[in-house]
Symmetry: C2
Subunit: 199 residues, 2 copies
DNA sequence: GCGATATTAGAGAGCCCTCTCTATAATCAC
DNA sequence: GTGATTATAGAGAGGGCTCTCTAATATCGC
């Protein structure tokens, strides 16, 4: 039997994530990741065939984690309630995993890579995209509302709310949860009888 | 008198923008910008002291253009109407200047740079940020609503709507204008009597 | 034409990065 | 212990990038 591994692939992905959110995409070189993780470059390339493959793995690991949670909420029983919960879960997840959230909010997969997406990663990416599309489509149907409207309310609005804080290096305050729920209600539910004018 | 310039600085900024939106931040090297613009690298460095200075100049040129328009709408007479117009102007501007919009939507200034923001750019950036903050603060006061709510409705929601299309390489369809106005009304105005359930 | 001035033009020093390659080490079945 | 297998470890080839430096060039006032 073989020599046991000394470094976990996740150690490298974690290092890459840290570099990415603190220093930006240009700072994430395979060499920098290896240095930061305290791993010889040879060992890095033993696990990942290329820098692009490493970045793709980081991206996919993160999207998978996020979508698992968001999707679970969408499948909840009462639709409007599920919608609110899914939307707010974006903020909750962001608070629980600020670095991962930054990765998703600030970068596109293609922007992290130098070349084309490695074939193996492409399959994983397509599966994820498919699952997300399908989940949203099904949910829109349950609500009886156009997909565009549902996507706007559940994806882009919470996204914007999370992004607002993250770009300032903070975590979204709980006060925006209310704004997001209110927006979801306004777009997907019956209009609220009277809006409280907070001031 | 001196020899007349042969290249305009904007030619370089345009080339950088094109590289940025089509290839991502990592692709925008000073060398690549010069190649793309058909300018010798020496001439590039004659205009910009460093790659970072060039990228900062591109960013600032773009933010200034965007804010000029957004700010003008905010100063419109009837507040709720001004709010709707400002919010929708984000989408209009995005359609008129898709590449510039992508720059603002997809990248943060710091992510484009390798090092710290050059001092000269820092002053310009601070001025811009100050003007934006002040404009929003004043508008929130006119509306008599909390700044956070106004920022969410006028900045982040339209931002999200624009981003939705741009990340797919498209320009926002006019159909989202309605969603944005509806959201602005719901968050800043009196609730609409009855929402039309489109389907 | 002639200096003064600003700009072009491009070669190349030095640096970092990606990725490869080879030598070495650790584990297990027998 | 031996062989098979899988990792580690790190040096270095080759390439691109940033930025500098020098030589050449275009314009103007006189």
């Amino acid at each position: 039997m073989p020599r046991p591994p000394r470094y976990d692939a996740d150690v490298l992905l974690d290092a890459a994530l840290e570099l990415l959110v603190t220093q930006g995409a240009r700072a994430v070189s395979a060499a920098a990741v290896a240095r930061r993780a305290g791993v010889p470059s040879g060992s890095l390339y033993h696990r990942f065939p290329s820098r692009d493959a490493l970045l793709a793995a980081l991206w996919l690991r993160t999207v998978e984690a996020f979508q698992a949670e968001f999707g679970a909420h969408l499948r909840g029983s009462e639709p409007l309630r599920a919608a609110r919960q899914a939307a707010v879960s974006v903020l909750t997840w962001t608070r629980a995993h600020p670095e991962q959230a930054q990765l998703l909010l600030r970068f596109r997969l293609a922007d992290l890579l130098d070349g084309a997406l490695p074939a193996e990663a492409k399959a994983r990416a397509r599966a994820l995209r498919g699952a997300a599309e399908e989940g949203l489509r099904a949910f829109a149907q349950r609500l009886g509302l156009p997909e565009e409207r549902v996507r706007f309310a559940l994806v882009h609005v919470p996204y914007a709310a999370a992004r607002a804080s993250l770009t300032r290096g903070e975590v979204p305050p709980t006060s925006v949860d209310g704004l997001v729920e209110e927006t979801v209600d306004a777009l997907l539910g019956r209009p609220r009888p009277a809006r409280r004018r907070v001031r």
